[in-house]
């Protein structure tokens, strides 16, 4: 039964995608959402059933042998442990809500059916990704996720910018995939050396079982392999230096942004690194890289988000930044292997809460866009709280959760991460490094609250202004869009509180045992059955808690001061620090640097090659062809048609032969 349910989760949306596609030539376009919603509801049901019933042991379900040649033995096998089930629980639910929202949002769009087919395939791929039992199947799903994001980002086919953004997402992701692929090869060849002569699958259990042995015999190579694999996660989760595709991905319809940023795609990298914990504990260097990349990205993206005027871009950079947070948490195990379990729990907790509030934020941003006639530049509208009262509430809820204001979801998960970072600074050779990272994390916490509420005040407060595209009077979104947001709102606000903090009275000399008042449900669940994650409970760290409260409140207040009370201050600030402002507004010129140093040189090389082909290589070939002609031209003189000269040549030839024969005899 559990095996069956495990298959239902990816298979139902996959089937729905096929059904919707087949429905197009039959003229059933307008019915497209229904198979998808049904399938997603089925998946959600299956995921929650499994979550409730199958937590104690890992379930495996094999379909057939996929690639089987020589030392490579890959089966299409699914697995579910508590990490998978945790991921599934929000992927399926949030996707379902987004799909319902899309019925309203996408109504009347020409590619209605295409949208729902791709969306369904997207969810199928993502669920397959977290259910994969080995590296190659994971890679299959990984690539499918990339494909679906390509299809959805490029949804508005008549816009060249959509094509460009889709292309960029696909290529940048492929750079990560290249690393992933090389990592797989490397790991496979190391595995083959440790266990020679046996046909080995690349399934997680096998690899994890031999990770220690590999680490002992080939520590450097294992580090290299893991770095390659991490490159894959960097690409998919939009971390520096491969973060540039995600903000451009805003070209897709808003529900797609919600899907990519919350439930699917970008969380894949975090999942993957969390999944690799049993290997990564053997390679602390890689974990340090993970932490540094994460912290750097978190800060960088937060700085960029400060000055963006496109509401969705602010949210996009906040996603990049929050993902950086998660990687930072995961990397903390590099300071101290005992932190691994806590680190994974904190990162997954943040993925979990982030999915809900980020989905809500994007859906309400979509609702704003819907009302504003597809305008999303915050400078062109303002004071929307009266025109869009419900959207206002929804967005505010998401913003509160994201900024980490006390007792709401983001607060708890961010606190868990900050606590892990704080523990990493306590001991070990990398104390100082983690001290710097902790500073970056705290700064990011402050910036997050600030830019989130900057966007909130710019959009919903101030003087009421509408762009001309909005029509006469903007209208609130229809019920089918409002309902999913209404469901997400309480989840976004409070799910962190419910699943989150483990509250305990710390041990004192009087009471040596820790008294647990409320367990950390999510961590508990995760630790029940996830490879590499042992029992280690996170309890609220009051020092970190206070710092985080202070920073987030400060951020919100500053935003209020700048963008509500004295809206002229930001401009003055920007003018007084022009280069800094420009750097942030232009995303630190990273796109331009890539264009100048990588893309353009390669394009120039590419444009030279065909000429080289035609004018050099081909000429060499042609020169061989000239040989007979030249030879012919040389001997042509001999055949001049005069009998005398023929007689002369005959005699000469005879003489030569005679000389040779006589010479040979004597």
């Amino acid at each position: 039964m559990s095996e069956f349910l495990l298959w239902v989760i990816p298979a139902a949306p996959l089937l729905a995608a096929v059904v919707v596609t087949l429905g197009v030539p039959l003229g059933l376009r307008s019915l497209s959402p229904w198979p998808v919603i049904l399938a997603l509801a089925l998946s959600t049901g299956a995921a929650y059933t499994l979550r409730a019933t199958a937590a104690h042991e890992t379930i495996h379900a094999t379909a057939w042998k996929w690639i089987d040649a020589g030392g490579v033995d890959v089966s299409l096998t699914l697995r579910a442990d508590t990490l998978t089930l945790t991921m599934l629980s929000f992927i399926t639910l949030v996707s379902l809500l987004i799909a319902i929202y899309s019925i309203g949002y996408m109504a009347g769009s020409p590619g209605f059916a295409r949208f729902f087919a791709a969306l369904s395939l997207f969810v199928a791929s993502m669920t397959l990704l977290v259910e994969a039992n080995d590296f190659v199947v994971l890679f299959l799903a990984w690539e499918l996720v990339g494909l679906c994001s390509y299809l959805l980002i490029g949804y508005y086919q008549d816009r060249p910018s959509a094509g460009a953004a889709a292309k960029k997402a696909f290529i940048v992701n492929r750079i990560g995939d290249f690393g992933f692929l090389v990592g797989i090869f490397w790991l496979w060849s190391l595995l083959g050396r440790v266990v020679p002569g046996v046909q080995l699958g690349l399934d997680f259990d096998t690899v994890f079982a031999h990770a220690g042995e590999i680490a002992k015999r080939y520590p450097d190579q294992l580090t290299g392999a893991c770095l390659c694999l991490f490159l894959g996660a960097v690409g998919k989760s939009a971390q520096f230096p491969l973060h540039t595709w995600l903000p451009d991905a805003m070209e897709g319809p808003s529900p797609v942004s919600a899907l990519i940023h919350a439930a699917t795609m970008v969380t894949a990298g975090v999942y993957f690194v969390a999944r690799l914990t049993p290997i990564l504990v053997h390679t602390p260097e890689v974990q340090l890289v993970v932490a540094v990349v994460g912290a750097f990205t978190a800060l960088l993206a937060a700085l960029i988000a400060l000055t963006q005027n496109d509401l969705k871009r602010v949210l996009a950079y906040s996603t990049v930044s929050q993902l950086g947070y998660m990687f930072l948490a995961l990397g903390c195990a590099g300071a101290n292997p005992h932190l691994a379990s806590l680190a994974v729990a904190a990162a997954v907790f943040h993925v979990f809460t982030h999915a809900f509030f980020k989905a809500l934020l994007f859906l309400s941003a979509g609702s704003v866009m819907h009302a504003m006639g597809d305008v999303i530049d915050m400078r062109r509208f303002g004071g929307l709280r009266r025109a869009l009262p419900f959207t206002h509430i929804f967005f505010l809820s998401g913003a509160i959760a994201l900024s980490g204001l006390p007792i709401f979801s983001g607060f708890w998960s961010k606190d868990a991460i900050l606590d892990v970072v704080a523990q990493a600074t306590k001991a070990g050779a990398y104390r100082t490094l983690f001290g710097v990272l902790q500073f970056a994390a705290l700064a990011t916490a402050f910036l997050t609250a600030f830019y989130t509420f900057r966007a909130y005040f710019m959009t919903f407060w101030g003087q009421e202004r509408f762009p001309p595209e909005a029509g006469r009077r903007p209208h609130e979104s229809p019920m089918v869009m409002a309902a999913p947001m209404a469901i997400l709102t309480p989840l976004a606000l409070f799910i962190g509180l419910v699943f989150g903090p483990g509250i305990a009275v710390p041990a004192t000399p009087a009471t040596p045992a820790v008294t647990v008042l409320k367990p950390n449900l999510l961590a508990h669940y995760l630790q029940m059955n996830t490879p590499g994650v042992e029992h280690a409970e996170h309890h609220v760290n009051y020092g970190v808690l206070l710092a985080s409260i202070a920073l987030s409140v400060l951020g919100v207040l500053l935003a209020w001061q700048f963008y509500y009370r004295r809206p002229e201050t930001p401009r003055q600030l920007a003018e007084s620090a022009e280069p800094l402002y420009q750097a942030s507004a232009n995303r630190f010129y990273i796109d331009e640097i890539y264009r100048a140093t990588i893309t353009t040189p390669l394009e120039q090389l590419a444009s030279v090659l065909p000429r080289f082909d035609r004018h050099w290589l081909d000429k060499i070939v042609d020169s061989f062809a000239l040989t007979p002609r030249l030879l012919g031209r040389g001997i042509r003189g001999v055949q001049d048609g005069f009998l005398q000269s023929y007689a002369f040549w005959m005699l000469a030839g005879l003489a030569l032969l005679l000389v040779l024969v006589i010479g040979g005899v004597s």
């Binding site: 057939w64 042998k65 996929w66 690639i67 089987d68 040649a69 020589g70 030392g71 490579v72 299409l76 020409p110 190659v136 890679f139 299959l140 690539e143 499918l144 494909l147 390509y150 490029g154 086919q157 008549d158 816009r159 060249p160 959509a162 094509g163 460009a164 889709a166 292309k167 696909f170 290529i171 492929r174 750079i175 995939d177 290249f178 692929l181 090389v182 797989i184 090869f185 490397w186 496979w188 060849s189 083959g192 390669l602 394009e603 090389l605 590419a606 444009s607 090659l609 065909p610 082909d613 035609r614 290589l617 081909d618 070939v621 061989f624 062809a625």
Partner: protein, 560 residues
């Protein structure tokens, strides 16, 4: 069962004659006859596949159990006997057909793409129909022959025979610059083939001279004898007085293989083609009619890859190890990137697919010269995958070119809204081409790369960057063709802008289904080639035995 192989070679020839007799006046008959013939050949291949799978099927043991090449269902006719005693001592040129797992794949590919070629010509070829179809059938026959030959000379004859019908197809039914293209194709590959023939003769003659066995060009026998010689070279057992020492034996065979490999390499490298021997390809592919292009890109390019696999890998382990891995695999990896970069800037659709095809052929050769089970299996299955994908892409380009009379990429834009079904199919095959897992291109590329990684890490890493470049040029193409506002070249009223038609669906839908099935269930192919590939890979299990005889002396000095 051997008769089935003879049918494969002979039936298309008979049909070609029949088609010529039917003549241009009866185009329907010509087309139907051709289609029935190629579909019939497909059925024969199917039958062969199911027979080969039976456990009762005996692979030939004529050459002794030692040979790594063991075809089933052999047919042998001595063509020209060198022995004066008559048939008592075998020796000479043989017409020798057989089949093993790897050749079965290519027979299947030939049958599929020959059917596709006949179908795409259904409405596009209106001029000298009988001649065209006769040439197509002769080409099919010679391809079947080449892929089932187990004698070097027999292989060579069929290998070169393919050029003649192809020359006329390109030269008579091609585009504006067809004559130059056809001439270059003919002479370049013919020249390569001749050098290769010298290599074949040299190899057989050396084996004959050294072992005293009757002169034979049979691949299984040569493989067995070569293996035996290499075992002598490794043995520490003292040889009988007068016989050459083990070191001498090794040195001799090392040199023979070195030179023979280089000669054969020229032929196959041009045929495949490997960069930098590819310059005949872009004009030939872009000028040929769709049927010709798809057969060239789909099947004929595999003659080179197949040749490496069939001739070099089992017969010349020293050379494959010492020159093949660094040189040929290196060229393959370089070609993957070179082809991809060239594709990026092409302005002509057919040339675009042509260069992308060059790039992807690199993965096949890379797999073959990984010289292990993974690589050889990957290379073999990639031959089938690449053939299917490239041929389908050329069919699609042909559809566009036929509708609009142009294949300039820049004259199109925003076609997604105009031709949705075309867009869907193009996108599907493009994704198969860039190796999206779940479709067939991935399986072969993955196995080839992982095999090469085990053999020579950096070559594989460089080749793997092909996944980035592949994504780059393919998404660029898709963006240029399908995104943005609609741009169409002006068309004449006689050619309405129709989306994919029924007949075109008949061609492409089965190819798409095959791509999907092979992507998800490659075991259907991998299981059939497992045994053959494992045998060849076993030759390379002990790298230390394959090292050059003495490190100090230069190869050229030894070559005398």
């Amino acid at each position: 069962m051997g008769s089935l192989l003879v049918i494969l070679v002979v039936a298309p020839l008979i049909a070609a004659a029949a088609v010529l007799l039917a003549g241009d006046r009866r185009p329907a008959l010509v087309r139907q006859l051709s289609l029935v013939t190629v579909l019939g050949c497909g059925a024969v291949v199917w039958q062969l596949a199911s027979e080969l799978e039976r456990p009762s099927t005996q692979r030939t043991r004529d050459a002794g159990a030692a040979s790594v090449v063991q075809p089933a269902f052999e047919v042998k006719y001595t063509w020209l006997s060198f022995s004066t005693v008559g048939e008592a001592r075998e020796g000479g040129l043989q017409f020798r057909l057989g089949v093993d797992g790897v050749s079965l794949i290519l027979l299947a590919l030939t049958a599929i793409l020959a059917s596709v070629a006949v179908l795409v010509s259904w409405t596009t070829i209106t001029d000298r129909i009988a001649e065209f179809h006769a040439l197509l059938l002769v080409l099919t026959s010679s391809l079947f022959g080449a892929f089932s030959s187990f004698d070097l000379i027999c292989f060579y004859v069929f290998f070169e025979l393919t050029l003649i019908p192809l020359f006329f197809i390109v030269g008579s039914w091609g585009g504006r610059k067809r004559e130059t293209a056809a001439r270059k194709l003919l002479f370049y590959t013919l020249a390569g083939g001749l050098v290769m023939l010298v290599g074949f003769v040299g190899l057989a003659a050396s084996v004959h001279k050294r072992t005293g066995e009757p002169l034979t060009f049979g691949i299984p026998e040569l493989a067995a004898q070569m293996q035996q010689q290499m075992q002598i070279a490794e043995s520490n057992v003292p040889q009988p007085p007068g016989a050459p020492s083990a070191v001498e034996v090794k040195r001799f065979w090392y040199d023979v293989q070195f030179w023979v490999f280089l000669a054969i390499f020229v032929g196959f490298a041009i045929k495949t083609p490997l960069v930098p021997f590819h310059t005949w390809l872009p004009p030939a592919y872009s000028e040929a009619p769709t049927a010709g292009t798809l057969l060239m890109a789909g099947v004929l390019s595999k003659l080179g890859c197949y040749g490496f696999l069939r001739v070099c890998v089992p017969l010349m382990p020293y050379a494959c190890w010492n020159i093949g891995v660094p040189l040929v695999a290196g060229l393959a990896a370089a070609g993957i990137i070179y082809g991809a970069l060239c594709a990026l800037v092409q302005t002509d659709l057919k040339r675009f697919i042509a260069y992308s095809s060059v790039s992807h052929l690199g993965f096949i050769v890379l797999g073959v010269f990984a010289l292990n089970v993974e690589g050889l299996a990957g290379g073999s299955i990639q031959m089938l995958n690449h053939g299917l994908i490239t041929a389908s892409l050329f069919v699609l380009v042909g559809i566009l070119a036929q509708r609009y009379d142009t294949q300039e990429i820049s004259s199109f834009g925003g076609l997604a809204s105009r031709l949705p079904a075309f867009t869907f199919l193009m996108f599907f095959f493009c994704m198969a081409s860039v190796g999206l897992p779940g479709l067939n291109g991935f399986v072969g590329e993955f196995l080839s790369l992982i095999g090469m990684f085990a053999r020579q890490r950096w070559t594989a890493v460089i080749a793997a960057t092909g996944v980035i470049f592949g994504a780059w040029y393919i998404t660029s193409l898709i963006q240029r063709l399908f995104f943005g506002p609609l741009v169409e070249p002006p068309t004449s009223a006689s050619k309405p802008k129709r989306d994919v038609q029924f007949l075109e669906w008949v061609v492409l839908a089965p190819c798409a289904v095959l791509c999907l099935v092979l992507g998800l269930y490659p075991a259907a192919v991998l299981d059939r080639i497992k045994e053959d590939v494992a045998g060849m890979a076993a030759l390379y299990d002990h790298p230390e035995r394959l090292q050059p005889p003495s490190a100090g002396r230069s190869l050229l000095a030894e070559a005398d």
